[in-house]
């Protein structure tokens, strides 16, 4: 136990206070609720012992870099530039709190203002916040924000529409966040080809919001979504969930009428890290700004007229507005957003495009290679894909995943885990690090499995 500077000096401090023992400072805790026995926990360890155990336990995991992996499903097996970790873990950033005292927090405030600008540019909307917890809570809070803004003018009061092809874990988060205001969630249907059914989408006109993903849960890009705003109208928010990397090639949703754009920021800044900490991006049109959740940094001046940054529009937030706040969010994912900003800045505009090209290329190359296997078909043969695509296998995809796993390959996600009726479907995820030999290994193991099961 080496984290206590006053260890061994307790008596000295107690004496100054005119007290005798540590028990004196806990005298307000009534006897009947005191713990009298020691905590039944293990003995303290030194840093050296903790490192040893961490290496042993975390070393028992099989990490994605140790084998060909096609498991994505919303997280990217990315490469994060070394500068990012080196700069973000500088103690002044790492160990600071929310910048309530702007005079000594200009560094993080400016970095977040620059982050807001980069996200705003990326998605084509004028304002962005400092981050949400993840893509799912960003989507959920985009919907609650839209209900607050459009609730009065909506002809379908308290109703939002959500795409049929939103991953089920995200749908559960949305349901948890929306049930409190008794918002009704209706499903926006897709056609047989996987694209949004634009005729059915007309039913959403006059509701508070529609939420769609571009690409959708199967990695499918859908040009029809760019017509959605004209279909649902001015007073229905079009909320688009994006793959942030895809926006190096795919049009920014703000440029085709999206009112709010959300998404998983993780590909910029941090590894998949077992699903957290990651960060959700949240950007919106001006009309939604005052009902936006989360922290926002604004530029201003100090008393000498010197340029300065500060948190602003705080009156939306829980510490001021309490139960009437736009959200309960307090701690967010600032440090991870900072890492994202560093990564985005290193990429620059052309670097972003190149990264998107690398992912698009590996997706297409993997798709063509997997399709060459006899007995494998695309779920949606005509769809354009980014990062992921879904195929139908001759029998249960979960068995194929286990077979590949035994051969040292993570083949993807068996979609039966997400949707009943898709047990033969496999979601294959690619990224900028997918190599030709990874693809050959995947094709080889799937071919072998198919020839064994069809024999």
């Amino acid at each position: 136990m080496d984290q206590l500077p006053n260890l061994g000096r307790e008596q000295e401090m107690l004496t100054i206070m005119g007290l005798n023992s540590i028990d004196d400072i806990f005298s307000n805790i009534p006897e009947h609720i005191r713990r009298s026995e020691p905590l039944p926990l293990r003995a303290p360890q030194t840093e050296e012992e903790i490192w040893h155990d961490a290496q042993r336990l975390l070393g028992a995991n099989i990490d994605l870099d140790s084998r060909p992996s096609f498991l994505s499903a919303g997280l990217a097996r990315n490469f994060v530039p070394t500068m990012v970790g080196a700069m973000a873990t500088r103690g002044e950033f790492l160990t600071s709190y929310t910048p309530y005292q702007p005079e000594v927090s200009q560094g993080m405030l400016q970095a977040m203002w620059e982050f807001q600008t980069m996200i705003s540019e990326l998605v084509g909307l004028p304002v962005a916040n400092v981050s949400m917890y993840d893509a799912s809570t960003a989507a959920a809070e985009a919907l609650t924000c839209a209900v607050r803004v459009n609730g009065r003018k909506a002809t379908q009061k308290g109703v939002v529409y959500v795409s049929q092809f939103v991953p089920p874990h995200r749908m559960q988060v949305i349901e948890n966040y929306l049930q409190g205001a008794k918002t009704e969630i209706r499903i926006l249907e897709h056609s047989m080809d996987g694209h949004l059914d634009l005729k059915a989408a007309a039913n959403a006109a006059g509701s508070c919001a529609v939420y769609v993903e571009q690409p959708n849960a199967f990695g499918e890009l859908d040009a029809g979504i760019s017509n959605l705003k004209s279909i649902v109208g001015e007073n229905t928010a079009v909320i688009v969930g994006v793959d942030v990397v895809s926006l190096g090639l795919v049009e920014a949703p703000g440029n085709y009428g999206a009112d709010i754009v959300v998404g998983e920021g993780q590909p910029f800044g941090i590894g998949p890290t077992f699903g957290g900490p990651i960060y959700g991006i949240f950007a919106c049109a001006k009309r939604y700004l005052r009902q936006m959740p989360g922290r926002i940094v604004g530029q201003t001046v100090d008393v000498d007229g010197k340029l300065a940054y500060t948190l602003t529009l705080s009156t939306r937030e829980q510490h001021i507005r309490r139960h009437r706040a736009t959200s309960n969010i307090c701690s967010n994912e600032t440090l991870i957003a900072l890492m994202g900003a560093m990564h985005m800045a290193l990429l620059g505009p052309e670097g972003l495009e190149k990264l998107a090209r690398r992912v698009a290329a590996s997706t297409e190359a993997t798709k063509q290679a997997v399709l060459s296997i006899e007995g494998v078909e695309l779920v949606d043969p005509k769809a354009a894909n980014f990062r992921e695509f879904a195929v139908i296998l001759p029998i249960d995809a979960a068995v194929a995943v286990s077979f590949a796993d035994a051969a040292g390959i993570n083949a993807g996600l068996a979609l039966g885990e997400w949707w009943d009726g898709m047990s033969r479907c496999l979601l294959i995820g690619c990224d900028e690090r997918t190599s030709q030999s990874d693809i050959e290994a995947l094709v080889s193991t799937l071919s072998q499995w198919i020839s064994e099961v069809s024999a």
Binding site: L41, N61, I62, Q106, Q116, S136, L313, Q318, A384
Partner: protein, 503 residues
């Protein structure tokens, strides 16, 4: 003064990447017509050498615990051991996907299980989930579980949540997000819970009470079990806001106090770095009757069998488990696993001696309070007015409140002025104007990782400020990167992004 958009490197000359697997036209063919990006985002064109300098410069304009004393009440700004950062860079956590099969993630599952169990033991709860990623999300998650519990029992009429007026703002915000109406009850003059007001507020419509203990005033509520009895007697549930958990580990626990659900702030009590506002981690623990409603999945274990592949070697096989009546997900994966791993490493440092951590946190707070409010005669004569205790109390827990009202009355110097002046002395300001029930409130939490010398110096500086020329204090800070920032103008004239690209 510079910003990141002022770098003028040539297009594409920055950080280099390998080439795509396919050529340009092959890639272009994968993007549907009408969806091709029309104009790339106006991001900076900068190289690594420039950006390292930019972010280093920004870091020098930011104050963290590493920079100096950070007595921000309610936030538990303790030292963040650096081994924890080294550990989360191991590929066994950084390069792990939450959907990998169980046999590939035995190590992280064992750490999750150990953390669930440790938090259960420290809080007197029966089941913990690590999924909520912040304290506020923990509150929301627990209130959702309580809500489903009442619904399952056919008690849908319970639509009110009782919250003391001294509560953190997240409490009412989280309950309101679940659809609850908030009933705020006033505290007594001494800041403690008013049992009569509580008795008058509870009824058949009570879903739960949300409260923290020690309270936001840093004082333990001795009548907490009586409060729990009142709430339970009408069928309500007791929710413990764990923001102040650092004060009580090993001394008592929410289970003994009569609570049914609790959240923990790993970024406070267990040293996950705050990172300028996050990430946090807000696991919750519940008593057995609420366990079936927790978000999915939970880490579980069974004895290892011969057919199992290699595990972590402790005789157990770790698995995921779905609670029977789960509310589903609140975060899309398994929570902030990186924060859980850091906090695991922090916990391992103390083990069963976590009680010592709380003892030293409470010792530091009482010591600092004592030396601030009992200065020597010379100092006493030199100040314009002494602060008074936020609430009367012989001893406090891990934090304490002071009211600076006497100073305002004497020379017109406000709590905010003193807070800004403290920045000139190289320390972070305490929490200001919270809880709102104390006028000109300053809430001070030193934590266990500050030495006696740091506390002595802070008290001396603080008392010096109280005797300084009022004009000097009212115009503070004077030595910081920028001086007092115009927040009103920031809100009135919104400049929320750089004009780059929109000019």
């Amino acid at each position: 003064m510079s910003d990141i958009f002022s770098f003028n490197g040539a297009s594409g000359a920055g950080w280099a990447q390998p080439d795509p697997m396919l050529n340009e036209s092959e890639v272009n063919a994968t993007i549907p017509d009408g969806l091709k990006r029309s104009k790339l985002p106006a991001w900076p064109n900068a190289s690594e050498p420039e950006l390292v300098r930019h972010y280093t410069w920004l870091s020098t304009r930011n104050f963290g615990i590493d920079t100096g004393f950070y007595p921000l009440g309610s936030c538990t700004m303790k030292h963040n051991p650096r081994i924890n950062e080294r550990i989360v860079n191991l590929p066994g956590i950084d390069r792990l996907h939450p959907l990998q099969p169980e046999h590939q993630i035995q190590g992280i599952l064992s750490i999750f299980y150990e953390m669930q169990e440790m938090l259960e033991i420290c809080s007197g709860m029966d089941q913990v989930t690590l999924q909520p990623v912040a304290g506020a999300q923990g509150e929301f998650t627990a209130m959702r579980c309580i809500q489903e519990y009442h619904r399952e029992n056919g008690e849908t009429h319970r639509d009110k949540v009782i919250i003391p007026d001294s509560a953190h703002g997240t409490n009412p915000a989280s309950a309101a997000m679940c659809g609850y109406q908030i009933v705020e009850i006033p505290s007594r003059d001494d800041g403690r819970i008013d049992l009569e007001a509580l008795q008058a507020a509870v009824g058949e419509d009570t879903a739960a009470m949300m409260i923290t203990n020690p309270s936001t005033l840093g004082v333990f509520e001795p009548e907490i079990t009586e409060a729990a009895e009142i709430v339970h007697s009408v069928g309500g549930q007791m929710y413990y806001d764990g923001a102040n958990f650092n004060a009580i580990i090993g001394k008592t626990d929410p289970g003994r106090m009569g609570f049914d659900a609790v959240h923990y702030n790993l970024h406070k009590t267990f040293s996950q770095p705050h990172g300028g506002g996050g990430p946090g981690s807000g696991p919750i623990g519940v008593k057995a009757h609420l366990a079936a409603y927790l978000p999915t999945p939970l880490a579980a274990r069974r004895d290892v069998s011969e057919s199992d592949p290699k595990g972590v070697g402790d005789g157990y096989w770790y698995t995921w488990e779905t609670p029977a009546k789960t509310i589903g997900k609140v975060q899309q994966w398994h929570g902030n696993a990186g924060a859980v791993v850091r906090s695991w490493a922090f916990y391992r440092r103390y083990g069963r001696e976590l009680e010592k951590m709380s003892e030293h946190a409470v010792l530091a707070a009482n010591y600092l309070r004592h030396i601030i409010i009992n200065p020597d005669k010379e100092t006493l004569d030199s100040v314009h007015a002494m602060p008074v205790n936020g609430v009367p109390a012989d001893v406090v827990m891990h934090e304490f409140t002071l009211s600076l009202s006497p100073l305002v009355e004497a020379v017109g110097v406000t709590g905010k002025d003193v807070a800004k002046r403290l920045l000139d002395y190289g320390v972070m300001s305490p929490t200001l104007y919270f809880p709102m029930i104390v006028p000109e409130c300053m809430m001070i939490e030193p934590t266990e990782t500050e030495s006696k010398e740091v506390l002595d110096k802070f008290a001396a500086d603080f008392l010096t400020i109280l005797g300084e020329d009022p004009d000097l204090v009212k115009t503070a800070p004077h030595t910081t990167d920028v001086r007092r920032v115009d927040e009103v103008s920031a809100a009135r004239n919104l400049i929320l992004r750089h004009p780059n690209g929109t000019e």
